[in-house]
Amino acid sequence: MTFARLTLAPYLTTSLISYLVKYDMDPLSTTFQALADPTRRAILAQLALGERSVTELAAPFDMSLPGISKHLKVLEHAGLISRGREAQWRPCKIEPKALMPVDAWLEKYRALWNARFDRLEVYLRDLQAKGKKRGRGKK
């Protein structure tokens, strides 16, 4: 398992990258694009407190209902929210599951650098220990 923690995209071939870009197999990017907007993040913050109607969500913003609806569509497409089916109300609900992959990838990158810093720490300790021994030897 350890070795698997290793491979970061720069070590992958460019062809694989362009393949994935070409065929749009990048759901995380969809999630991130959806999150990369302050209004949408504010909407999600509201929904974290409970279900809301579109009118309720629009209230804090100086924005038309169609404007808010556009943002909701982006969030819905990214799987970050779902809409109820009741004809009038259609309450919006946050889908925290969609955030898991985002959290997961950061964890992986962090793990790579943690492991690297761990090795660096051990290497530095060994170097310093050797230096001290050699210093004593001279005296």
Binding site: M1, T2, F3, A4, R5, L6, T7, L8, A9, P10, Y11, L12, T14, I17, L20, V21, M25, D26, P27, L28, S29, T30, F32, Q33, L35, A36, D37, P38, R41, E76, H77, A78, G79, S82, K97, P101, V102, A104, W105, L106, E107, K108, Y109, R110, A111, L112, W113, N114, A115, R116, F117, D118, R119, L120, E121, Y123, L124, R125, L127, Q128
Partner: protein, 161 residues
């Protein structure tokens, strides 16, 4: 544990990842093991990998050209190009072949803190999408099949959303 010793952040709307770590060694030594070809390959890893350095010249415009030998016998060519070298406090480099759209830029700063050294890695990706790609690909490999299964399930969920 190790995870607690590093701090990291990756804002959703900025294509950066930042990781910091306080190392118990003087700054001059940390700089040396980072920039001297005799030392750099010894700890770079990842775990289970060995590194062969073809060339390392830590000056602006210089490169670190190295191969990582994986435990599965596969080799991974790597190229790092240095842009800024301010001994012993700052290194700026790009990782990846020139022209690679997923190439990313890293600024490493070394700060003295009471005899210890704080290292801060600030990685800037060409876009949020590229950063996510790097991390997701890495994640897909790490988690192996199980992760790919999750990814497939996630994709399926998205298509039905």
């Amino acid at each position: 544990m190790a995870a607690a010793r590093s701090e990291s952040r990756a804002p959703a709307d900025e294509p950066i990842i930042e990781i910091t770590r306080l190392l118990d060694a003087p700054r001059a030594l940390v700089w040396m093991v980072w920039t001297d070809p005799k030392h750099a390959g010894e700890w770079w890893g990842p775990d289970g990998f060995s590194v062969t350095t073809h060339a390392m010249n830590v000056v602006p415009g210089g490169v670190w050209d190295y191969v990582m030998h994986g435990p599965d016998g596969r080799d991974y060519d790597n190229l790092i190009t240095f842009h800024e070298v301010v001994k012993p406090e700052r290194l700026v480099y790009s990782h990846g072949e020139p022209g690679d759209p997923n190439q990313f830029h890293v600024t490493v700063t070394f700060t003295e803190e009471a005899g210890k050294t704080r290292v801060r890695m600030h990685s800037v990706f060409p876009s949020v999408a590229a950063r996510d790609f790097v991390a997701r690909e890495f994640g897909a490999v790490e988690g192996g099949r199980q992760h790919l299964d999750n990814l497939a399930a996630y994709l399926a969920r998205q298509q039905h959303a």
